[in-house]
């Protein structure tokens, strides 16, 4: 009895299309489709060939080969070979570059580890970031453990980009939770005030806020509260980030059925118990893709601080080809920086898309 252990579903399941069949259906379904396929294949091949030719086949790699670049038809990666330290480290003292490198590795590791679900509790995530950010700061700033002190004015390149991103996240995330809870507060004055605060910051371009933080807050705040320009900009950026993130979290909070909170109330749980144990865990789960997406946007937006005068990776890149012999090779430098951003942003956004798929399956 061959069919005895087959279920009804197996019998009724449609036949699996063959590989060739799928190929035919998705590429050569109609004559027009075939034409489009052939044109696209040609275009893709042309693009790919040109990019590979430019970047690898006809390119020059060593710094000392710079004279060859004038006749080369491909990329002149010599500029990266010669100037990569400026691009990656900015004005950081040359002998201390290893500190900046290790700090960047630590920070990237912290970011990667935060993506692992095992770390998703307030305590573990908190510890991870205190440890990661602390190590990063000690390595960059020095002053203890026999490391020479290097003030933030001399930080630059990738390390500064990562520092701004991490600091904005650390300040912004708790703030966003407070803002989201505040906006949903049952006390009308609090809810109105927080709502006004969020809407005000969300209606402004980030650049305006960074500019205000850098240039104008010295007018508004007394001297003892001003702090360094870098920290003012980070706080402004974090407030902006928190206002957007708060709306994501609020959306997650609103998606929770009211019965959940009422059940907690009936059991005699206090406000903070209900928020911490019932509402927030579910809200984060509900809006995780949107939250990750906000981090993706924020990473890209760190490039805007270059306008208010910081030497992060975009500005240090522009400085890299600013001198004499390298001026003609701006494309290579921009492509290099673009690739660095792309790697971070693309992997983060792929991770967000993965989470979205996974969570959707979880909900059935």
């Amino acid at each position: 009895m061959n069919t005895s252990n087959q279920t009804l579903n197996d019998v009724l399941a449609p036949p699996k299309p063959s590989f060739g069949g799928v190929l035919k259906q998705r590429l050569f379904n109609t004559p027009l489709d075939a034409v489009i396929t052939i044109v696209c294949a040609g275009l893709l091949f042309y693009l790919l060939y040109n990019v590979i030719d430019w970047a690898f086949l006809s390119s020059i790699w060593k710094a000392e080969d710079e004279p060859l670049c004038r006749d080369a038809t491909g990329a002149c990666w010599s500029v990266i070979d010669a100037r990569h330290r400026i691009i990656m480290f900015g004005l950081f003292p040359f002998e201390e570059h290893w500190r900046s490198t290790v700090a960047c590795v630590v920070m990237i590791l912290t970011i990667v580890l935060s993506c692992v679900p095992w770390f998703w509790s307030a305590v573990r995530l908190g510890l991870l970031w205190i440890l990661g950010f602390g190590t990063f700061y000690i390595l960059m700033h020095g002053g203890i453990f026999g490391l020479t002190e290097i003030t933030p004015e001399r930080w630059g390149g990738l390390a500064l980009t990562l520092f701004i991103f991490a600091a904005v996240s650390i300040i912004g995330m708790p703030l966003s939770v407070i803002l989201a809870l505040g906006r949903r507060s049952k006390l009308p004055v609090i809810a109105k005030m927080v709502g006004l605060f969020i809407d005000f910051f969300r209606s402004l371009p980030l650049l305006t806020i960074l500019f205000t933080a850098a240039v104008i807050t010295p007018f508004l705040l007394p001297g003892w509260l001003q702090g360094d320009k870098l920290y003012r900009v980070i706080v402004g950026f974090a407030i902006f980030f928190a206002c957007y993130q708060a709306e994501n979290i609020r959306a997650g909070l609103q998606a929770i059925p009211p019965g959940q909170d009422e059940a907690g109330l009936t059991l005699g749980l206090s406000y903070w118990q209900r928020v911490g144990r019932i509402q927030l865990p579910q809200a984060f789960r509900n809006s995780l893709p949107a939250i990750v997406n906000q981090f993706v946007i924020t990473f890209k937006e760190t490039s805007i601080v270059t306008i208010v005068g910081f030497f992060e990776i975009l500005a240090s890149g522009s400085a890299a080809f600013g001198t004499g012999q390298w001026t003609a090779h701006y494309i290579e430098v921009y492509v290099f920086i673009g690739l660095i951003y792309f790697i971070f942003v693309f992997s983060l956004s792929r991770y967000g898309a993965y989470l979205e798929r996974k969570l959707r399956v979880g909900h059935g």
């Binding site: 396929t37 696209c40 005030m193």
Partner: protein
């Protein structure tokens, strides 16, 4: 006393009162501090400086201007420059986004792969880097003598993009645009009043013909005398004469915003097209509609309704992103305001103007889009995006 503190209502009121007074104290502290620092610098607060002449130059202006112009006029120019940049950028981004959205929803693997590559490349690199990149490319183009030449009428060189324009004064062009907008609004109102009746369609056709005739007549009557119909740029000596010049700053920003925004809007459009229920398409197919008819009468109208809210959001975001113009030296509103702050020292007033302008622009976009959204919403039917 202890009883009162345990009272939830009382605690709520107390907490709110404390929060309110903290905010009030912070705000008053800021005002006092600002006044102190203004006094220390010998500056007077107020908007009187707006009538003073600026005395500094900037790179690009929609309106004619002189160095002796007042702050009011210079700020107005900044607003218009931002609006021009936003209009061109958003228009091109929308067109590109629709194309990309269609490509990405194609059943053809390779075709949609091309769309995916485009979206991933342009969405994952910061806009500001893209703007700087295009600006560097554009300013490193050959000089006017070796300009890239398209059909002897459009030229692209290191000095910018030159293209032909109609030889008509600005006011008549403005009149034409106003007439078009007026007609579109009338059309919407007529549609609302008359539904899609036969009379409506007749009126619509006649209206279009009348509009085209009116535009041609105005263009002919108002053209600058003793000139050709088109003002075509031509190389005279070392530079181009005639035509319209789009400086590299503006071109780079428009290209960057169009490509970056196109990737985002493409995703929005794709989501909208995917949100159209499959049953609708299948029903249309069963009824014997052609592929084009299915797209034009079923998929697109439903998709437009599904995407409008997220499209509004994208437009507002892109409009805010235009402030990065300062990195390539384009004199948009932000650059004008920050230069004004440097020159006049009237920091808070100028910042308030900047914020008010952006609030007004963003609210207008949201208002227009929401009005369209309400007008075209299908009664009793909802597509979720």
């Amino acid at each position: 006393m202890g009883n009162i503190l345990r009272n939830q209502k009382f605690r709520g009121i107390l907490f709110q009162a404390v929060a309110l007074s903290v905010v009030a104290v912070v705000l008053i502290g800021m005002v006092m501090n600002t006044k102190a620092s203004l006094d220390a610098q010998g500056l007077t607060a107020g908007f009187n400086f707006l009538d003073r002449s600026t005395g500094w130059d900037f790179s690009f202006s929609v309106l004619p201007y002189e160095i002796s112009d007042t702050y009011t006029r210079v700020i107005l120019i900044g607003v218009l420059n931002t609006l021009l940049l936003g209009f061109l950028g958003l228009l091109l981004a929308t067109i590109l986004g629709i194309i990309i959205g269609l490509i990405r929803t194609s059943k053809n693997y390779l075709f949609s792969l091309l769309g995916t590559i485009y979206v991933e490349v342009f969405r994952n690199v910061p806009l500001i880097l893209q703007a700087i990149f295009w600006y560097a490319i554009l300013t490193n183009l050959p000089r006017p003598r070796q300009a890239l030449n398209f059909a002897d009428s459009i030229f692209l060189s290191g000095r910018g993009l030159y293209f032909p324009v109609l030889n008509i004064p600005l006011w008549s062009f403005a009149l034409m645009v106003a007439m078009c907008i007026a007609w579109l609004i009338t059309l919407g109102w007529l549609r609302h009043k008359m539904d899609a009746s036969l009379a409506y369609h007749r009126l619509k056709k006649m209206g279009w013909i009348a509009l085209i005739i009116a535009i041609v007549v105005i263009g002919y009557l108002a053209r600058i005398p003793e000139t050709t119909l088109f003002d075509i740029p031509a190389l005279k000596g070392l530079n181009f004469r005639g035509g319209m010049r789009m400086p590299p700053e503006l071109t780079a920003l428009v290209v960057a915003i169009a490509l970056y925004g196109g990737a985002y809007i493409g995703e929005v459009i794709r989501a909208g097209l995917m949100a159209v229920p499959k049953g609708q398409i299948e029903a249309a197919y069963v009824n014997g509609l052609s592929n084009f008819q299915i797209f034009w009468h079923i998929r697109m109208p439903l998709a437009i309704r599904a995407v409008l809210p997220s499209l509004t959001n994208q437009y507002v975001q892109l409009m805010k992103a235009t402030t990065i113009g300062i990195v390539v030296g384009f004199s948009d509103l932000f650059m004008i305001i920050s230069t004004s702050i440097n020159q006049s020292g009237q920091t808070l007033e100028l910042l308030a103007i900047l914020m008010a302008c952006f609030l007004a622009i963003n609210l207008s976009i949201a208002f227009v889009m929401n009005t369209i959204n309400q007008k075209i919403a299908l009664k009793g039917y909802e597509v979720k995006s």
